[in-house]
Amino acid sequence: MYVAVKGGEQAIDNAHAWLAESRRGDVAIPELSVAQIREQMALAVGRVMAEGSLYDADLAALAIKQARGDLIEAIFLIRAYRTTLPRFGASRPVDTGAMAAIRRISATYKDLPGGQVLGPTFDYTHRLLDFALAAEGEAPVAPQAAPVGPVPRVTGFLDREGLIEPEPACDDPPPDLTREPLDLPAGRALRLQSLARGDEGFLLGLAYSSQRGFGRTHPFVGELRIGEVMVEVEIPELGLCVAIGAITLTECETVNQFTGSKTQPAQFTRGYGLVMGQSERKAIAMSLVDRALRWQELGEEDSGAPVQDQEFVLMHADNIQATGFLEHIKLPHYVDFQSELELVRRLRASAAQEAAE
């Protein structure tokens, strides 16, 4: 039974006014501009773009400002906005091999063509708070040296020797979970789309669980690269393919042991992660989860681990779906609760009566 409940309008308006005032904080402190967030909170902006599934740094920065730094709330704003946009089409698949890499490392080969390029990384910092940042000052200028050109793929070295499963190109149009509801079992293309927009924390936890033994993956990071790739789109009126923009991506390829089967000789297998923005934690986690979910096609054992269960992974990776269902329980459930209250009272009353008899 539903009972129409009205009221609270004034309270809601006042709550939103207070939210706006609180968002601004102490007015004696200069207000943050969207451009400042875009430039100086770039990794938060990247996360909001990746999980909001819409690459637009200004919009992501605006969403972060509006959400007072609550990134899941900001992602929610971006997801809502993207539903208002007409879809013009799809890009050509981006060529991450031609990426203008600012970072490129391999944990499998020390000396590799193109070298180990650290880029602007937190690795090897001491994780000591830098109080100099609390004071205003000039940022140091990054040194320059002989430029990094296009770097070859690490998995390409293994592929040439047939030591890793091939990944042959094809141009079948992929399924799109923003157009058709996610249907299980999902093929790898759909899984990768779901993981690419999935919650970083959830994927991190799942990937970590697989490393600790809940579903074995034994990965090596064959290669991790970050940089800009061109986005090419075919202009339908002209039939021309134009590189209309560039986006920063993080790509991780893991190399995993595979002992072979009756039909296949032993070779390495692949896990793949590709994330918008600079987010190597998520790209590595994604590639571990991708690999773990491939157990069936590789004829591996189902150990019953959460990371191997695609329903568990795919149905819970989306933080907007998750937060929507989780947080709805704080909204009025007066009538539901009333019926449970009556039930509990009735049960207690009948129990008390039986005890008395």
Partner: protein, 146 residues
Amino acid sequence: MPATPHTRAEAMGLLARARPERLAELAPDLPGHAMLRAPETGAVMVQGRQGGTGAPFNLGEMTVTRCAVRLDCGAIGHAWVQGRDKGHARRAAVLDALLQTDRAAELAATILAPLAADETARHASQAARAGATRVEFFTMVRGEDE
């Protein structure tokens, strides 16, 4: 149409990837034109490939603004640009149309060449910063091979 150093697709790419302020600085005045399609913002689904080289999958969308114009002389121009800047899309479409006229060589020199130089410089500066973080390994001789 006179030859220019860039194909139409390359020119459209340079116009699209230019910073909007830079394009406005290089081409402040636009000739008279009619809108065939007023600037409209939407999304393009960006695809990746499984394992970097395999079958495509949908990575996520990006914002794109498109526009089509006809100049008074009849030339038609199209633009698709990343982002939501309608002025950028309109300017890029008008310039695409102008590049189909006898002003192509002049515009290639005054607009496309500086844009290409900007892009090359930006890429070179990033690549040089990356180059400075390339690890040079020093291998110690430990004597086990004796």
